[in-house]
């Protein structure tokens, strides 16, 4: 396993990540198993719960690293798109107004040209499919990272016996559903009252 992973790690970043993921999980699991009994003896309450959940945190941290790779890829593309359009727009401005402005009127005219060309070119970019897709993927990756962070926070909250996000969401959903039912009942009551 070691030699295969070592060999693979040299092949691609994905394999390398897999290797480190395995390595981390292996030691987390082993240490967790080795220490669970002594821990149970020596610790009580929240800290014991935290120790039991530490594996989940390790998994989330590893996945955050994986997610960061994808996030950086889309982020680089995002800035590349902006930089490319900036370059093209500036060339257009230079062509349209090659001389350095020498008086106030000329400065105003060049500024107007600059703003119009830049606004047009950037609007064209923001309106394009390639921008929309990359931006959508970038936000999606950012949300995935947030989700992992939420999951880590959930583990910490659970370890100190506080409700986590999913549990609070359940309460919100229940309140929403109850409010709807109460409104319907009130409406029904009003209708019956009016019918009498």
């Amino acid at each position: 396993m070691q030699s295969k992973s070592s060999k693979n790690s040299a092949e691609s970043p994905k394999d390398m990540t897999e290797y480190y993921k395995h390595l981390s999980l292996f030691w987390t699991d082993i240490i967790h198993l080795m220490s669970s009994k002594p821990q149970a003896l020596t610790s009580i309450g929240p800290m014991r719960s935290f120790a039991a959940n530490s594996k989940k945190i390790s998994v989330e941290l590893i996945e955050i690293n994986e997610g960061l790779l994808g996030f950086n890829q889309y982020l680089t593309e995002y800035y590349k798109q902006l930089a490319d359009v900036w370059g093209i727009a500036q060339k257009k401005v230079n062509l349209k107004s090659p001389k350095i402005p020498q008086d106030v009127e000329h400065i105003e005219a060049v500024k107007r040209i600059w703003i119009d060309i830049f606004d047009n070119d950037f609007t064209e970019l923001f309106d394009s499919k390639k921008f929309g897709e990359n931006y959508g993927n970038l936000v999606s990756k950012e949300l995935e990272l947030t989700k992992h962070w939420n999951n880590i926070t959930n583990v910490i909250l659970q370890s100190v016996n506080l409700p986590n996000k999913e549990e609070i969401d359940e309460v919100y959903k229940e309140i929403h559903s109850l409010k709807k039912r109460v409104s319907k009942l009130e409406l029904e009551k009003e209708k019956r009252k009016n019918a009498k």
Binding site: Q102, D103, G136, S183
Partner: protein, 354 residues
């Protein structure tokens, strides 16, 4: 030495003046936080959850029997319709003798993430309509929807046509596939399920991003340069700060509502195809059979005319008017142009039917 360029002394003068304006700006202008955006006196007559129904105090004796309820957009706040005494949409309507109500959607919190179209249409908006009907002893009211508020009002009007005497749709968000704005491009590529699942409500930061991609150089740079250049112009500065304050105050949008709005309007475009469901009921735009007035702006870079106009052709009403104005999304409701052109035309149309 002969090739040395001569700098126009006016340039130095302009730079010095601009610098002086920046230094003096805090003495001449209020901080946005100090500005009160609630211009026209009103009472809060009904409050459900975070929503408030506002009733504006009449300026002259009410001339028209049918009251008007305005369903404001979900983005930013209703203040833009009452931003300045001289540019107030609400005040103008009061001056024309209409009784005006406004539905303020409030500021949803995480607890409200499950609120959906059904809650907004059949809950908050319907409760407001029922309240006004009872208070004014009328069977039907006039309804106006602005921007995304018009999407909600359109759905309401299709579901409860028995309650609406006249319907005015101002820059309504209807046909997402035809929308040519940058916003629609972002909306079409958004993983809205993931966003709502992870964050809950649509965060204001996302809305700020959407605003920042709209004419980024005119709105992000030139606008502020003009502000400092005109710092001595009290009227200009006051108006600028009011609009800026309004632009910066974006409440979150409840997650479920946002999800349905993005999916049903921008991604799958169900509303205009009469395929959208709200509260288990199919929305059929042909059921909008009362007099209807649609207002669109040619220069609208938030909701393009192509997105709004299909509503005019999709409804069942025979008494319908479409007005296209040479202005923008905000210019149509809060400008000198709206006071001189848009409101008098709308008021005349509404007065004849109220």
């Amino acid at each position: 030495m002969q090739n040395e360029s001569i700098i126009d002394p006016k340039i130095i003068e302009e730079i010095l003046k601009f610098s002086k304006n920046i230094i003096e700006a805090p003495k001449l202008a209020s901080a946005p936080d100090e500005i009160n955006l609630e211009v026209t006196p009103h009472k809060v007559v009904q409050q459900i959850d975070k929503t408030r129904l506002l009733h504006y105090k009449p300026i002259i004796e009410t001339k028209h029997k049918t009251p008007l309820l305005i369903s404001y957009a979900l983005i930013n706040r209703y203040h833009i319709l009452d931003i300045h005494p001289e540019k107030s949409w609400v005040r103008n309507l009061l001056e024309q003798g209409f009784e005006v109500y406004m539905l303020d959607w409030g500021t949803p919190t995480s607890m409200d993430k499950y609120l959906d179209f059904d809650d907004y249409v059949n809950g908050y908006l319907d409760s407001s309509v029922e309240y006004i009907k009872n208070q004014s002893s009328v069977e039907k009211i006039s309804l106006q929807g602005y921007c995304t508020g018009a999407t909600i009002a359109t759905v309401y009007t299709a579901l409860h046509s028995e309650n609406v005497k006249n319907y005015i749709a101002t820059a309504p968000v209807i046909d997402g596939w035809k929308d040519t704005t940058v916003i629609s491009n972002l909306a079409k590529h958004m993983d809205v399920d993931k966003m709502v699942d992870t964050i809950g409500n649509m965060p204001p930061e996302f809305m700020y991003y959407c605003f920042s991609v709209l004419k980024p150089f005119e709105q992000g740079i030139e606008k502020y340069v003009k502000f400092f250049k005109n710092i001595d112009d009290k009227k200009y500065v006051d108006n600028f700060l009011r609009v800026e304050k309004w632009l910066g105050d974006t409440p979150p949008i409840p997650g479920e509502l946002f999800k349905q709005w993005i999916k049903d309007i921008y991604q799958e475009n169900l509303l205009i195809q009469n395929k959208m469901h709200v509260g288990g009921e199919l929305i059929d735009l042909k059921k909008i059979d009362m007099p209807m007035f649609t207002q669109v702006a040619v220069g609208d870079h938030l909701v393009s005319p192509e997105c709004s106009m299909p509503l005019h052709y999709a409804i069942g009403s025979n008494d319908k008017t479409l007005k296209i104005y040479p202005t923008g999304h905000v210019g149509m409701i809060a400008s000198s142009f709206s006071q001189k052109k848009v409101l008098p035309e709308m008021g005349k149309w509404l007065a004849e039917r109220s």
